[in-house]
Amino acid sequence: MPKLTTQDILKLIDGLRAEGFEVISPLRINGVVKLAKLPPGEAPLLDYIRINNSPKDFLLPCRESLYKYRSTATLTSYGLKIRFPTAEGPCPVTIMPECTLPKSKIAFFGIHPCMVNSIRYLDKVMLSDPADPYYKGRRDGMFIAVMECEEGDDYCLCGMLDSYKVPAGYADLMMRKRDGGFLVRAASEGGKGVLALINKTQEKDGVPELVPKMKEKYTFDSTDEAEIDRRDAKEYVELCTLCAACTVTCPTCYCGDIEDEFSLMDPANVERTRLRMSCQRKCYSMIAGGTTFLKTKDARFKWRLKHKFPFSERAYQLKGCIGCGNCIAMCPARIDFRKFLGRREA
């Protein structure tokens, strides 16, 4: 495996940019490690354990406009009125939504295998029939340079979910640390092409699998729906404040909301916007009339786990949890679902 110098990395990135990729990589911004657009000339941060956000922020943004349309809002002498009730007779306008689908080429540079698995999960959800065209527009033609992970922190659990394994077709470059530098190998044709830019050829040696060390080991007895329902979560969620940090930072939480947004400047133009939602929020399960299906903290906690495990396994034959541990690390109360689902090993 060829070794990379910082110079090489910058060259690789320039090569990607030249091919029209928007390079996104881990960076330290104001002391916080997160994925962000890499400014030209700057080197990505490759030696890190945890990032505060995840690829979903770029594939499924917090707020995105689905389409715009002209509403029946009109300015009348009485002020502005969206035409319900229609006092002025029938509304003549037909709805003609206008939308432009995003088209971007994203290159994730230096994300860990768990995050790669999160992209695979989002793919399963968003590209299953009917495919989400907005997601697809961003996702198509993506380039992924994986930074393999040697050791997790207290909250990582990819070791027990096997999500340190990069699924086939989800990596173009594979990088790992070695002697203070980085080794790199191409994992796809695209990857080979980029590696050729720095004149480093692929040696044909077998690469041993790198299994990240877990600081804490747990075994899950069962993640069946019935089992989750049977267990008492009260003691685990006692400290939960329903702040929803767990779902916000989870790389696979994709629940959404869609709303009409108006502007005062031009109230007749409405923008239909997709926003993020969280099962920890009250309005997630509220239906008209105020009936809320997930009323209590433990119901919402269990719901999150059920969505991650049994529900996802049933719908997509894939676990929704990729073992990054963000939901534990980012929770102010450190609510640890590993303890609820399994037993800690000595």
Binding site: N53, L264, R334
Partner: protein, 247 residues
């Protein structure tokens, strides 16, 4: 549609926020609505200082006899009253600060002062927009919904939700007391995003769980008393209610 914007005892930061943040939209506000009174921007000509309005936005807490009188007049002349900002919706710092203050004299020649109250203690309030100051976006959204007979929505998420969405590091982890988990979101986590803890200036979140929050602080070895102190600062009357339910 007639709008009016009033100010009681306050810093007038909420109206200023609307004026500066709406920017050029302020003019379109004028083109769309009849605004007979807008403190700082448009003064009424002659006649009453409290013109008839369909929606009245009231900023500020009720502290003086003059506030009280004005507020009653506003209620009488407006079909829909919206509390604008934390002063109006919970009494703000003045609520807590004015309690237990011993003054020799509470009455000057024209002005008499009382313990500060949110406007809902004096009149019926139809909707509350929280925040110190209010968010101009939320105001616009609420206004557009109101005039279409749609009930405006209060955010049902906490400040943490937005803080984490922005990818910030949590201040609690750094050993600082932050009210984010308890506070109603909608401000875009302005304070934690610049490293200052949240003081819950928008009041408690819909499902604020004080007990769990205090236990979290305990687990982290953080000062609970300080959290209660912080909670009292902006949230005024609402903090009082929250603490009462929590205990």
């Amino acid at each position: 549609m007639r709008l009016a914007f009033y100010s009681l005892t306050s810093c007038e930061g909420c109206l200023t926020t609307l004026i500066t943040n709406l920017g050029p939209n302020l003019e379109s506000l004028w083109n769309i609505f009849d605004i007979d009174y807008f403190k700082l921007v448009r003064e009424p000509v002659g006649g009453s200082k409290v013109p008839k309005a369909d929606i009245a936005f009231v900023e500020g807490a009720v502290v003086t006899n003059l506030d009280r009188k004005k507020l009653l007049e506003i209620r009488e002349n407006s079909s829909f009253v919206v509390a604008l900002g934390t002063c109006a919706s919970s009494g703000n710092i003045a609520f807590t600060a004015s309690r237990g203050v011993k003054l020799k004299n509470k009455k000057l020649r024209d002005v008499e002062i009382f313990e500060a109250e949110p406007i809902s203690s004096v009149v019926t309030v139809d909707f509350e927009l929280s925040g110190c100051p209010v968010s101009a976006e939320e105001f616009t959204d609420a206004l557009l919904r109101l005039i279409n007979n749609i009930e405006p929505i209060q955010p049902d998420y906490s400040v943490c939700y937005e803080c984490r969405t922005k990818g910030n590091d949590c201040l609690l982890e750094k050993g600082r007391v932050c009210l984010g988990p308890l506070a109603m979101g909608g401000c875009g986590a302005a304070c934690p995003s610049v490293g200052s803890p949240c003081y819950s200036c928008r009041g408690p979140a819909t499902e604020a769980d004080l007990e769990a929050y205090l236990k979290t602080l305990e687990k982290k070895g953080l000062d609970k008393k300080r959290a209660v102190l912080m909670l009292h600062m902006f949230t005024g009357k609402k903090a009082k209610e929250l603490l009462k339910n929590g205990e």
